[in-house]
């Protein structure tokens, strides 16, 4: 694959921004990505996003020849990059703008989501009180811990490790270092998940420009990041029915496809982002990526291997748990991987040249993976 990312940027404000609507956040994220790439809107001919890419295109004066509005939740933006790469290879577009904007905290211009008692979740989950993501995404976690001889301390270790990163990142929303005991003593919203094990809820957005080398200028190529491999899959629609989150799962299939396409080994990965709306996901994600044996990711985290200075730097912005989380975090995981590969990150990993990004979505029932690299 010859796809490259030549523009990547986040909105100026991450956190609380009641003056910017969802559309406005998408527009700002898109404009900043275009500026990063040195492009004008008129040079974009493909648009993608989980919130009305056709509305975003119109707001930016773009007349697209290709539109992708895939929305499977938080990992949608990884899929947009994958789909854009395919569209560019097919000649359906030359430069694709992927945008994200979400007013998760202020709810400015947010599309209402009323209950749907006829949906699968409305029939088989919500009547039991399973609606907030921290009551659904989290349901398989205790099984994973139990089967691997672990307890909630393993979840707390993830928070401890990621705060070591976020404490070095000025834009991160939660920057205080924490101890295991402090994480475990925090209020439980849905035991075993205490507040620091659950993502932030913020306003923000971002944008990416995807193209192929043949369409890029020398200056764009200089800071470009290669899309080496990609994968995507989905599971049964209800989390209770996912056969095995670390075995037969969308994330495992997406990871295997991405590594096969990238033609690189797991040992060549120097940086990892795993979508962490909740603290069990980095553990399960590392195992789905094949970067830790099943049940052994917690040992890596406890040993400091995912922390600054470790062999497998993970969620180096602090992640959804500590950097930002608008509701659909995947855009921010990609942004941090691009910053690390450009050597422009706030908490930079020395000499990093490859990154694996794993996104989750649909309450743990969809996934996508990108393998990114820099020469």
């Amino acid at each position: 694959m010859d796809a490259i990312i030549i523009g990547a940027a986040e909105t100026d404000v991450l956190g609380r921004n009641p003056d910017q609507s969802v559309l406005g956040l998408n527009v700002e994220g898109g404009l900043r990505a275009l500026a990063d790439a040195g492009l004008e809107p008129g040079q974009i001919d493909g648009v993608a996003g989980a919130y009305s890419p056709h509305g975003v295109a119109h707001a930016l004066g773009i007349t697209p020849r290709w539109v992708d509005s895939t929305n499977v939740g938080g990992c949608s933006f990884l899929m947009h990059v994958r789909h854009a790469a395919a569209a560019i290879a097919a000649g359906h577009a030359t430069r694709v703008l992927v945008t994200h904007g979400e007013s998760g905290r202020s709810r400015a211009g947010t599309v209402p989501r009323p209950r749907d008692p006829q949906s699968w979740t409305g029939q088989f989950e919500e009547p039991y009180g399973a609606k907030p993501p921290y009551t659904r995404f989290t349901l398989p976690a205790l099984r994973y811990l139990h089967d691997n001889g672990l307890d909630e301390t393993a979840l707390a270790q993830v928070v401890v490790a990621q705060r070591r990163w976020s404490s070095r990142v000025p834009r991160a929303g939660r920057r205080d270092l924490m101890t295991i005991d402090e994480v475990l003593a925090a209020p439980a919203l849905a035991w075993p998940f205490t507040v620091p094990m659950i993502c932030m809820l913020t306003d923000g957005g971002g944008g990416l420009v995807v193209t192929a080398s043949e369409h890029a200028t020398a200056e764009q190529l200089r800071r470009s990041v290669k899309v080496l491999g990609t994968g995507e899959s989905s599971d049964p629609l209800l989390v209770a029915q996912v056969p095995d989150p670390v075995g037969d799962s969308a994330a495992r299939r997406a990871a295997d496809d991405a590594f096969a396409e990238a033609r690189i080994g797991r040992s060549e990965i120097g940086h990892v982002m795993v979508y962490d709306a909740f603290a069990h996901l980095p553990l399960i994600g590392l195992e789905c990526l094949g970067l830790a044996p099943v049940g052994k990711a917690a040992e890596l985290v406890a040993a400091g291997e995912t922390s600054p200075g470790g062999s497998l730097p993970l969620n180096t912005n602090g992640g959804g748990l500590a950097y930002t989380h608008t509701g659909m975090y995947g855009m921010f995981a990609i942004q941090e991987a691009v910053r690390q590969l450009r050597h422009e990150a706030a908490a930079q990993v020395p000499d990093v040249s490859t990154s694996a990004v794993l996104g989750y979505g649909g309450m743990f029932t969809a996934s996508s993976v990108l393998i990114l690299a820099r020469d």
């Binding site: 008692p117 699968w120 009180g129 009551t135 989290t138 349901l139």
Partner: protein
Amino acid sequence: MSGEPKPVPRPTPETRPYWEATQRRELVHHRCDGCGAGTQHPRAICACGSTDLTWTSCTGRGRLFSYVVVHRPEPAFADEAPFVLAIVELEEGVRMTTRIVDVPADPAALPLDMDVELRWLERGDVNLPVFAPAAPEGT
């Protein structure tokens, strides 16, 4: 009590047999006659390729597969917190989201793989299948 009513399911044409069975206090699953795999909600074609799928009665016995203890529910369920929201694996191999009732909302009382059995929670004119720790054999 919260002012917001608790949500109740509204059947679709595909799920009507499931919810009609609950009116008789019967739990059913959608079972493949080809490979025996079952799911809680219906599918058109089994992953094995078979289109012979039949609504089949469950024994109502299963095991506690995983759970969370919800301390901060959405407002409609504020009066019930804390409660045990669980995945139960039925004897038929089907996993479903449900509640564990008649037990303290305390992890010490909720070991994984504990045997559970079917109970019914009335919500208006809807019967929701929930589970409780199984009575010891012979009682």
